[in-house]
């Protein structure tokens, strides 16, 4: 099956690009990102500030680690849980009727976001991450089967 290796590479490229872009956009202006975090009304204060400085770097490192043989499965698991957490946060905001910008890429896209559409996007990214969590069989191992 040539489809699975292709899907794995495509997932890796997309996830890595999304995390690098999202992380870098937030690192550029952490103070503005605090407001985006607080808009969800899930955390505030010191926790929102810590999230605003930590999460962007975690995303950048995940984006890089997805290409490192010794870290990429861990990065894929992290990406999976992070995308699911983002989906839950978006779902809660939607359920509570919050009219907010998602803040997914910092302040790059101000204004209210289409939250259901973003949930679908995040679930697709979670599926891509799930694909990468499976152990990759070595080519020699594949040939013996």
């Amino acid at each position: 099956m040539i489809v699975i290796p292709f899907l794995r590479i495509a997932s890796r490229v997309v996830l890595s690009a999304v995390f690098l872009w999202a992380g870098w956009a937030k690192i550029y202006d952490p103070a503005a990102f605090v407001r985006e975090v607080e808009n969800y009304r899930l955390i505030g204060g010191l926790l929102a500030r810590l999230t605003a400085v930590y999460l962007p770097w975690l995303e950048v490192l995940m984006g890089l680690a997805l290409w490192m043989p010794n870290l990429r499965r861990g990065a894929a698991w992290l990406a999976l849980w992070l995308m699911l957490a983002f989906t839950v946060a978006l779902g809660l905001a939607w359920w509570r009727g919050l009219d907010i910008s998602c803040g997914c890429f910092g302040s790059a896209a101000p204004g209210a976001s289409n939250l259901p559409l973003l949930m679908v996007r995040d679930l697709l990214l979670a599926a891509a991450a799930a694909l990468l969590t499976a152990r990759e069989r070595h080519p020699a191992e594949r040939r013996t089967r």
């Binding site: 103070a31 009304r41 500030r49 400085v53 930590y54 490192l61 698991w77």
Partner: protein
């Protein structure tokens, strides 16, 4: 287990750059004094300039309100909204600018209460105070 260790390592590796960002980034959240005011955010100096035309709203808990508040402020928190909103409406008039405050720089209750008041009153003259009650006390020793 290997994947878990890898994930943990990535989480740990993110800590040092995050610390550097918090300490040295020119737009660090810990340097919010340098950050431009958000929409509907006002400083103590601006609010004081409006004088008696300001209606102060205390978005903190009733316990905090009881322990001390800006003179003339009415209590209105999200948790006690139904009980306190009527008392707020009694003293509010459309000509007055409303400034909502919570405890300090890190709190976000004032912003949420201000947003809700703007929606409920249909008024744009509802602001929230940068630095909260702590900033007001610092300016009025």
């Amino acid at each position: 287990m290997v994947a878990f260790r890898q994930a943990l390592l990535i989480c740990v590796l993110a800590v040092p750059p995050a610390g550097v960002t918090a300490l040295l980034h020119p737009r660090s959240p810990w340097r919010t004094a340098d950050v431009p005011l958000a929409p509907f955010e006002v400083t103590v100096a601006q609010a004081s300039h409006w004088g008696a035309n300001v209606l102060w709203v205390d978005a903190r808990s009733t316990v905090d309100y009881g322990a001390g508040h800006i003179p003339g402020a009415v209590a209105l928190s999200e948790s006690d909204w139904e009980k306190q909103f009527a008392a707020f409406v009694d003293v509010w008039s459309p000509e007055r600018k409303v400034v909502v405050y919570c405890s300090q720089l890190e709190c976000s209750a004032s912003r949420h209460v201000a947003e809700r008041l703007r929606e409920d009153l249909g008024s744009v003259e509802v602001y929230f105070l940068r630095g909260g009650y702590e900033a007001w006390k610092a300016a009025h020793p």
